[in-house]
């Protein structure tokens, strides 16, 4: 199932990449042109043959997907570098940042959402609602901007980038890691900000829904109360849908990543994508990045499905069949 989704997604992505005017060959040679070497129509055709661009659409898609599943994305169109080596660290770092943001968002949202849903304190509820709406309404690039500007004014360092200058190209070392951590909190915070607002909404709505169910009243009628009741009954049953929403939340974070990356001039995948697109029209690279991002989400969805089956016997039963 997960593989199938991925195939479908790759087809969509690949088709859209193809729809973009101009082929890789044309673009590379046009790029070369600007560098002073004269290129003719024959050169383009030769280059297209060399890259296999003259083959039918489906064959090219098949090859691309086949390679992609093996983790081979070929060479970048313009930079002529292997995409794998181009992405490597950068992809993992950005993935790490996104996942951390997601993790932190839920770490905050779950307890706060549960408390908000179970509390009858109107002031608390309204203020939480307001804060989370503010989180929704204030796009995180604005937030990033504000923090950056403030820090520029206060510390004279814009906190942009993931590494200080002296570490940017240095090999990994303890100091570099510390430096990284010292700077990574900002993108994590910015990305986590709206993710938390979203997660808070989800958790609160789900909890309210569960709490109105009869089994909670029945559990109260058996003498359970307070935190014990809350965590064992509604919270536990709301967990399933929360887990279910993880994949799509990651999607949302990925959506915001390039924008935040742009402001904070992070050189990881998102900004690379932007660069690939905006400056050099590099569809090979863009396709690889989107494929990787989607594959991550599919993988997260796959794991949440398994997790869900572990948490909820009803799901387990429908997955394993009635006899299990």
């Amino acid at each position: 199932m997960a593989v199938f989704t991925l195939l479908l997604v790759s087809l969509i992505v690949f088709t859209l990449m193809e729809l973009v005017p101009g082929t890789c060959a044309e673009r590379y040679l046009a790029f070369k042109n600007t560098q002073g070497s004269g290129i003719s129509v024959e050169d383009i055709q030769a280059e297209e043959r060399r890259l296999g661009l003259d083959r039918p659409f489906l064959v090219r898609w098949g090859t691309w997907v086949g390679n992609a599943f093996r983790g081979q994305f070929g060479d970048s169109c313009i930079l002529r570098l292997n995409i794998n080596s181009l992405l490597a660290d950068k992809f993992w770092i950005s993935l790490g940042i996104c996942l951390t943001a997601l993790f932190l968002a839920y770490l905050i949202a779950i307890p706060v959402g549960i408390i908000a849903a179970s509390s009858e304190n109107a002031t608390l509820n309204n203020s939480l609602r307001f804060i989370s709406y503010l989180g929704l309404a204030m796009p995180n690039f604005l937030l990033a901007l504000m923090i950056m500007l403030v820090s520029t004014v206060v510390w004279g360092d814009s906190l942009t980038g993931l590494f200080s200058n002296e570490f940017r190209d240095a090999p990994w070392s303890w100091d570099k890691v510390m430096d990284f951590l010292g700077r990574a909190w900002l993108p994590v915070f910015v990305l986590g900000w709206s993710a938390t607002a979203f997660a808070l909404q989800t958790v609160r709505a789900l909890m309210l829904d569960e709490q109105s169910k009869l089994y909670v009243t029945a559990a109260r009628a058996r003498g359970l109360y307070g935190r014990r009741l809350l965590w064992r009954y509604p919270a536990r049953h709301a967990l399933g849908p929360i887990v279910n929403s993880l994949g799509f939340d990651l999607n949302r974070i990925f959506n915001e990543l390039p924008i935040v990356a742009l402001i904070l001039t992070l050189t990881e995948a998102g900004a690379l994508l932007l660069g690939a697109l905006a400056q050099s029209n590099d569809q090979q690279l863009a396709g690889a990045i989107i494929f990787l991002l989607t594959a991550t989400i599919v993988a997260v969805n796959f794991f949440t499905d398994i997790l869900l089956a572990l948490v909820d016997p009803r799901v387990r039963r429908s997955v394993l069949g009635a006899n299990a």
């Binding site: 479908l8 969509i12 309404a137 604005l142 403030v150 697109l277």
Partner: protein
């Protein structure tokens, strides 16, 4: 005796009130419930004000928001707040001060703007100014202006464009992109979700799979990829439509799922079977029963999706892939705030940010209020 008539009239008022409740359509009931939510009502008022400001932007704003309406003598100028009194005494008519721009040896040969407190410029109502079209009608009357020179309530930007005028026009553009985007995604959602929900079975299964696949792709990076290929030669209108279409595409899977779920639930309701047993065909059932049964939910969904659409537009414009100057959208205005220089020296660039936040928040609150009001179980919640 009068006591009796009092009672009688009281009873008849009660009776009329009850009758009004009983004959109230679903829409009236939702409105009645919506009215009780203070936060949502405040948000709705703000939203209405913003929408009106957007729609009547050409009339309300004193100048053309593009380079045509620039004030060459007041670039990066601070906001000018009309006042009634100063050290020279008060006036019935609000006024602002005139500005002088000069370059001399004293200023190190840089342009320096100074305020001349002796030069009062009085605010005028309904002044003639730049030409504009509103609902296809040509006009050049603006709500206010000053008798000589320019007035900039929110200051000007680096080319002297009036930020107040730009903000109003930007609200209009953002709303227009949003509306168009919502419409596009809604049409897509209605067709795709409608087919899935009405037919169910394997058709539904296949459509669901495709929708889910679409939901998995991080759409903004993907469309950044596409938007990057917009030729610079495109006119601003083409760009506008293209961005709207992209935004419509971003939003359809969520809406399509809602449409499908509503349809799947409503399709099995007994009143649908009752209509079928009356010999009603699918067309009649969809028109008379299914659509009315969930229009209110769909409207709520649309309102709720609006802020995300505005946000998407802003985000795309912000990174320079969406709308660009001279078209004015909130995203374009926010983009202007990116430099540290702005924070340090020209804080008034941030004024549109507040309008943007207010717009999105108003939408979120109104959507939330509508959702509560349309919830059939809302009234029964204990």
């Amino acid at each position: 005796m009068s006591d009796m008539t009092d009672q009688a009239s009281q009873a008849s008022i009660d009776q009329r009130r009850k009758e009004a409740y009983f004959t109230a359509s679903q829409r009236q009931l939702i409105w009645a419930r919506f009215k009780k939510q203070r936060a949502a009502m405040v948000a709705a008022t703000i939203l209405m004000a913003l929408v009106l400001m957007g729609v009547f932007a050409p009339f309300l704003s004193p100048y053309d928001p593009t380079i045509k309406g620039r004030d060459k003598d007041y670039t990066n100028g601070a906001p000018q707040i009309p006042q009634f009194c100063d050290h020279n005494g008060c006036s019935m008519r609000p006024f602002i001060y005139g500005v002088k721009r000069e370059r001399s040896i004293q200023t190190n040969f840089r342009w320096v703007t100074s305020i001349d407190t002796e030069d009062r410029r009085y605010v005028q109502w309904f002044v003639r100014g730049d030409d504009y079209r509103l609902f296809g009608i040509k006009g050049n009357i603006h709500l206010f202006g000053v008798d000589k020179g320019f007035i900039h309530l929110f200051g000007t930007d680096d080319t002297g464009k009036d930020i107040f005028s730009r903000t109003l026009h930007a609200i209009y553009t953002s709303l227009a992109v949003g509306t168009l985007g919502v419409l596009i995604s809604f049409v897509l959602a209605l067709i795709i979700g409608g087919v899935a929900g009405y037919y169910g079975g394997w058709i539904d299964g296949v459509i669901q799979m495709i929708t889910d696949a679409f939901r998995t792709i991080p759409i903004i990076p993907l469309f950044m990829a596409i938007a990057a290929f917009i030729p610079d030669t495109w006119s601003s209108e083409t760009r506008f439509f293209f961005i709207s279409i992209i935004i419509g595409f971003i939003n359809w899977p969520t809406l399509a799922r809602r449409v499908r779920t509503h349809l799947l639930v409503e399709r099995t309701q007994e009143y649908v079977l009752a209509a079928q047993l009356c010999g009603a065909g699918p067309g009649h059932i969809i028109r008379r029963h299914l659509l009315p049964s969930f229009t209110s939910y769909i409207i709520v969904d649309l309102v709720i999706s609006f802020p995300y659409i505005v946000l998407s537009e802003t985000a795309l414009s912000f990174i320079g892939l969406g709308l660009k100057d001279p078209v004015n959208s909130l995203g374009v205005l926010l983009q202007n705030t990116t430099s540290a220089d702005v924070l340090l020296n020209y804080q008034w660039y941030f004024i549109p940010v507040f309008f943007f936040i207010a717009l999105v928040m108003a939408f979120v609150f109104v959507g939330d209020g509508l959702r509560d009001a349309a919830d059939p179980y809302g009234g029964q919640k204990k």
